[in-house]
Amino acid sequence: MINTATVANIQPATRDATLSVTREQGLELWRQMVLIRRFEERAEQAYTEGKIGGFMHLYIGEEAIAVGALAGLNPDDDVVTHYRDHGYALARDLAPNALMAELYGKATGVCKGKGGSMHFADPRKHFWGGYAIVGGHIPLAVGLAFAAQYQNQPRVAVAIFGDGATNIGMFHESLNMAKVWNVPLIILVENNQYGMGTAVQRASAVPDMITKALAYNIPAIQVDGNDVLAMREVMLNAAQNARRGEGPQFIEAHTYRWRGHSMGDPQRYRSKDEVEKMKTRDPIARFENRLLEYARATQDDFARGRAEVERVAAEAIEFAETSPFPDPAELYTDVFAPEVTNG
């Protein structure tokens, strides 16, 4: 029997007709979402021009989750994400120039061009990255949370992944151990309805991802992932609960991926009508309406913000294109720690 009391352990997001943030905070969240979108649109363009190679997965349409979720965390909370990681890196304030350069494989990239799109990382910002093995990073996040608990630090760790990853063994083993040890872990599942080209109902025995959390007695909540303020609130609550020793917390955010799984996806598994319909739930447009209505925002605010974002995205492209490729000798760096005597 599902323990419904457990579900309520995280308070649902407020749905009242006001903003839960100040005007300035609201405009900042909006700016981050617009930056993610324009950054990716420019990257998409560069990819189609052949300037970026390899595999690239776009986050367009899902921006509110990364922005809202990270707004609900402290800057030193540990974040570990899936390979669709551009939005999280930007929301964690990694430099757009270094991120774009990484997409280009340049020496000035955030991983010196070794990683590319799927493997953004900056440990100084507690952003442990972009992982390309589905579910492979979930146990790592449990380890980060375990260490915070062991060291008696107030940090929480956040594992972020899609609905598809909830079907892999590592997910289940990690949730079980996280709960047994009661570590400060937040599991954030982006349910965008497709694991690559397979619809969630064709791959998961249960339609609601929270059901899987409840199997491990982990408090869980579903949230509209296209509502940036709701995202922020559920994350604030989850982080507060985890920080005060209540153990792992689970968030299922509903959203929709506007683009294909990756750049080469012919998208036979869904109709254009479906995509167009879901685009009407644009998290940016929706939030603009709320800002206009409740925060005295004006079209001028948005125009100024968009111009600023446009400049940042253009500068990132310029920086990436004019940066050098890494020296071939860079291939041999960072294999082992330097000057270690084994013995």
Binding site: G53, G54, F55, G105, K106, G109, G113, K114, G115, G116, S117, M118, H119, A132, I133, V134, G135, G164, A165, N167, I168, G169, M170, G195, M196, G197, T198, R202, A203, S204, P266, R268, Y269, F325, P326, D327, P328, E330, L331, Y332, V335
Partner: protein, 327 residues
């Protein structure tokens, strides 16, 4: 005789064999509706239905484990692991279950399973979409490991793999899928597992390769031929068990050996091939055995310069072959 890409040859072979044998089915991530991430299973879902072109959840361990169970009772599963880099959660199932099934059951159970998976670099896949995994699995007797390099071989070897009563890891170099075209004979034919193939005859040096490196090696041999050096190119095709006879026959003829693979060097396949030659044909050698391989590094970087520096290519191979010729 049709001209097909490496990919088309593999795809058509699955179509043919599924039409011929109802026990054959494919399963894996997005192999059905999408037709596979590289389109290797395209059309199977439409032709044979969802029961025989099965989309699975993202769960490699279970994909393989379930296929092993079905194979043990007479089915002929072809399991696809979307990228070879993703196979490791299934390592236990492959090594501890599939490879040991016959041995542990006094041949009471068989495991006629094929695991197809794209491997290798050269497409800017980065750290987790470029790896070579063959060395891990060549250390697991009971499991065949096959790595074709041409459309013709891909068909003959895949048919053999599907009909083989024991498990086969079928490695498809992803760079070959669309870049390599060749003649594929019509109708049914099989190429026995465990047999290498001399892809180019020569008298001065034996170059041993497989997969994408076979083509780089042939290009290098072409360059050296213009310089008057005749390189014999051996395509291993099956990586376990190795065809010792073909290797040794060529070495005894040329007396000089270069082994080429993209996988990292230490404990790579080249080490075993070199050991076989040292044990069996030491007296025939006129020069130390050379290896041209990927360097001992954790992964292939995403960026172009790093990937280029990592991977062997015709130029690097030709340089090694020239040095060997001069020795």
């Amino acid at each position: 005789m049709a001209i097909k890409t490496f990919l088309e040859s593999i795809r058509d072979t699955m179509h043919d064999e599924m039409a011929r044998d109802e026990r054959v089915f494919v399963l894996g991530e997005d192999v059905g509706v999408t037709g596979g991430v590289f389109r290797a299973t395209e059309g199977l879902y439409e032709k044979f239905g969802a029961d025989r072109a099965i989309d699975t959840p993202l769960a490699e361990l279970s994909i393989i484990g379930i296929a092993i169970g079905a194979a043990a009772v007479g089915m002929r599963p072809i399991a696809e692991i979307q990228f070879a880099d993703f196979i490791h959660p299934a390592f236990d199932q492959i090594v501890n279950e599939a490879a040991k099934m016959r041995y542990r059951s006094n041949a009471g159970w068989e495991c006629p399973l094929v695991i197809r998976t794209p491997y290798g670099g050269g497409v800017h896949g980065g750290l987790y979409h470029s790896q070579s995994i063959e060395a891990f699995f060549c250390h697991s007797p009971g499991l065949y490991v096959v790595a074709p390099s041409t459309p013709r071989d891909a068909k003959g070897l895949l048919l053999s793999a599907i009909r083989n009563p024991d498990p086969v890891l079928f490695l498809e170099h992803k760079k070959l899928y669309r870049s390599i075209k060749g003649e594929v004979p019509d109708g049914e034919y099989t190429i026995p597992l465990g047999r290498a193939d001399v892809k180019r005859a020569g008298s001065d040096i034996t170059a041993i390769a497989y997969g994408a490196m076979l083509h780089e090696t042939l290009n290098a041999a072409e360059q050296l031929a213009r310089e008057g050096i005749e390189v014999e190119v051996v395509d291993l095709r099956t990586l376990f068990p190795l065809d010792r006879e073909t290797i040794l026959t060529s070495v005894r003829k040329t007396s000089k050996v270069c082994i080429i693979h993209e996988d990292t060097k230490t404990m790579g396949l080249g080490a075993e091939v070199a050991a076989i030659i040292s044990e069996e044909a030491f007296g025939d050698l006129d020069a130390p055995i050379r290896r041209v391989t990927g360097p001992d590094l954790p992964g292939i970087p995403f960026n172009e310069t790093g990937e280029h520096a990592f991977l062997p290519n015709a130029e690097k191979i030709a340089t090694a072959l020239r040095e060997l010729a001069r020795y």
